[in-house]
Symmetry: C3
Subunit: 266 residues, 3 copies
Amino acid sequence: MTRGRIITLLTDFGLADAYVGIMKGVVLGITPEVTAVDISHLVPPQDVSSAAFLLLTAYRYFPEDAIHLAVVDPGVGTSRRAVALGTEHGLFVGPDNGIFSDVLLDQGAVENDGQLGPDVEAVELANESFRLHPVSSTFHGRDVFAPAAAHLARGVRLQQLGPRLESLRLLAVPAPVRRGGALEGAIRYIDRFGNAISNISRHDLPPEAWVEAGGRRFQGFSTSYQEGDLVAIMGSAGFLELAVRNGSAADVLGLRVGDPVTVRSG
Amino acid sequence: MTRGRIITLLTDFGLADAYVGIMKGVVLGITPEVTAVDISHLVPPQDVSSAAFLLLTAYRYFPEDAIHLAVVDPGVGTSRRAVALGTEHGLFVGPDNGIFSDVLLDQGAVENDGQLGPDVEAVELANESFRLHPVSSTFHGRDVFAPAAAHLARGVRLQQLGPRLESLRLLAVPAPVRRGGALEGAIRYIDRFGNAISNISRHDLPPEAWVEAGGRRFQGFSTSYQEGDLVAIMGSAGFLELAVRNGSAADVLGLRVGDPVTVRSG
Amino acid sequence: MTRGRIITLLTDFGLADAYVGIMKGVVLGITPEVTAVDISHLVPPQDVSSAAFLLLTAYRYFPEDAIHLAVVDPGVGTSRRAVALGTEHGLFVGPDNGIFSDVLLDQGAVENDGQLGPDVEAVELANESFRLHPVSSTFHGRDVFAPAAAHLARGVRLQQLGPRLESLRLLAVPAPVRRGGALEGAIRYIDRFGNAISNISRHDLPPEAWVEAGGRRFQGFSTSYQEGDLVAIMGSAGFLELAVRNGSAADVLGLRVGDPVTVRSG
């Protein structure tokens, strides 16, 4: 017996208003056989880059047939496209504003110019049959995206939702740069604990590396938040992060998203 | 195969404490065959009017047999009645303090004095068999309302829960007033994005209307939040709202719930 | 037809990041036949005592076969043990840092020195087969605890998870002390409404008692938050609490966790 497909939800709608509950009502009205899982609804308003990062850290922990509904959509009501993607690791539904950049790059499924590779299929959500009517100009999460995800969950094929797309908009996702002997990255995300997570991945790190950030130098890498007052650590998403024992590295070091993090070796 | 009935939850219990989880435990202990959907638990404490508005914006997006459990209940432990309602679009369980006003008015199911029409059935939750015991004096969400909703979900009929009621308390829900050539309404709700939502509905609007609010005049209506820095727009719940592109209209205009919004035409 | 076991989640991970959603993805990937229920994810960071109290107030409202996953874990990555417990009222999975103290004491299942009684079975989560690999050093909620809970939910026996433990770490849970004619307790928790909940239980109270807290004296006990501006009331979790009508007792009285509450009688 199956519980049906998983639909994850990631938005900037917050938890005070009814918007998220309404989307779930729409989904369950189309197909009751789904399990809805919230990724986050507290993405800072209109912050597509943070949403893209959160989705990156989460999607591989869901089954391959999960449907990830991601709606951080400052362009709602404009001509930005609504899309659905089928990849080797999950389906994705949301606006074509770069919110799926990290996931596509992580899968090696997209070129830097947004051209899609052979392992991903993308369509524009143009088929009026799979929307609520009338479609509002301000809440496509309810009227366009939730219905598309629900119809996919009940077995509608991606191709039925609309015409195929060859490319998608990508975020200018910041990537670390090698300069001389150093690797220059940046803070990508700061979590609830004040851990400052960089865009420098496990694979980028030279052996014997040390880290500079927030005007401090971190010698070596710790394996626990408790190892020192202030530690550089390989975080759970596979990125170098800076942390303070039982406190906030962001506060202590004054770090914000975009601030530089440099790794040197030797 | 069905996943069972939907029970939505709307409270002012917040998300830091265990109150909401406890209510779900009670529901699932009575009937595991339900899908719980959160509408919001961040209603400002004791703000029955905001809860009534959120429920209005949400309930039509759920199946008609959904059970809506709404507990913003400053009078818990006093003589205010606990009620359950059966309507043409959903069942409702909560305190008789006006929290269902908007939903009943929206369905044309109640007179302005609270007399119920023929399309709604209401009962007082008086039957001790459908409560937890002992009933606490401070948490009827757990001891009275969640059990009632769960028993309805597993097939108990409304009439079994207690004696029939002929009328309910209504909120003094503010309605727009026509004065001269103008329609005078008010801000009813401010959402996470700072969009200021009025009580003026799509159906109230004259053609060629313009709007005054927060000391500004808005000419015409926009169809996207991106159309101007400051826009009047028909929001997703069917009410006129004021919005700021990628910002908060409430902050920019200094708008608060209750502030006037005037529509003029010609 | 069953919906499968309930897994509750209690963490300090917050709701802005993806951590909670990721844990649910891991659980559902191991066994789709569970119903996940959030207790709270807004426990103050690293506040094991508040988490222990919230779990105490919640666990008896869930079925006896529910699995309670509690991850407030400042020692993640250190040598603190990961454990699972089977009790007469629920299974529990989390770090061995005292987070289950209140639940075990409430069941009379543990001595004050942490020795476990005959009605509880505890194991260390040592079996590598029931973890994600590689195990990160910072997110055992994802890699150790969620998998253990999911495997228990799908029928794995407690003993399969690792070797049996004879004792657990307990919090120094503050208990009220009798001194002369008075019972001296303390504020244990402050909820969203500002209700200040003490560690003095219904069973500790003498008849005809009165209460001192925050420099005020409360004569007798109220049965509703509406009975006075400032009331002492037996709260829904069975503990004496101080409340302000439609306001915050914590703010009005300047009460914080740990502040004294004294009950006198006669």
